[in-house]
Symmetry: C2
Subunit: 158 residues, 2 copies
């Protein structure tokens, strides 16, 4: 590294080459991540469907959006989208979300079981998130009792 590089340049360089570690990701998600569940019963004339959506995500100001690209690459799943916000004193954001059930069950949940969150509020949200995932895995969300239980658990998450 050239002796002329400034402190800021050095830091940017470290940022770019320094990979995310599991512990860093846990700290970041404790502070900024979220687990959310929506459970709907859709009724039409000729059908009744139970839809459960499990989402892991993180929303940051667009100026820190690069971090979410690293996070997506770290997990190897999920997508980024841009959220424009025209309100005064609000800034545009980037949101990272993992919505694919396969990825939530196969990547996100196993990761946070291996590397537990430390915030009591996040531990609680994750615990209920996993209970809901378990109901979905067992296909119990398709019956009335199962979907009602998910709706109840999703309220307890927050």
């Amino acid at each position: 590294m050239s002796e002329n590089t400034s402190g800021a340049d050095n830091q940017q360089e470290r940022f770019l080459v320094h990979p995310f570690t599991s512990e860093y990701v846990v700290g970041l998600v404790d502070g900024e991540g979220y687990f959310s569940v929506t459970a709907k019963i859709r009724e039409r004339k000729n059908y009744r469907a139970h839809e459960v959506s499990l989402v892991f995500g993180m929303k940051l100001s667009e100026k820190d959006g690069k971090v979410l690209e690293f996070l997506r690459d770290y997990f190897g799943c999920g997508n980024l989208h841009y959220c424009r916000d025209l309100r005064e004193n609000f800034c545009n954001c980037i949101e990272y979300q993992v919505r694919s059930q396969k990825d939530v069950l196969g990547i996100i949940i196993p990761f946070f079981r291996k590397y537990p969150l430390k915030f009591p509020s996040k531990q609680k949200a994750f615990k209920y998130f996993c209970e809901i995932a378990d109901i979905v895995i067992k296909r119990k969300h398709l019956d009335e009792k199962g979907i009602k239980k998910i709706q109840h658990l999703s309220k307890l998450m927050h």
Copy 2:
């Protein structure tokens, strides 16, 4: 560990025994921490004082306050205080702050120089925070040019 302990109990136990690592702290501070500076010129009849205050802190909902106790223990400095908030949809918080100049210069700055933050916005705030600290160390904040420079840099932090 007893086989009868629930997942939540296991997680709580892991939380209690699992020490904070530098990487976890960096992730947490990237998401939730702040660096702030106030620089005032106090003028009275018989004196004129330049006061610069460098603060590192983090404010969390009281339900996650335990994390801040761990953070204070991790750094071995700083204090916690309780922030009551009676507004609707707002919750009471715990705030961790390191305000002692000795601890900011001797513990906090060296830590984040060794373990760089990854959020561009936090890198920028920390860079200016260090520049201001440098002015204070050299006692240049006591002259007019120095305090004005600090006031300018503190605006660039955010």
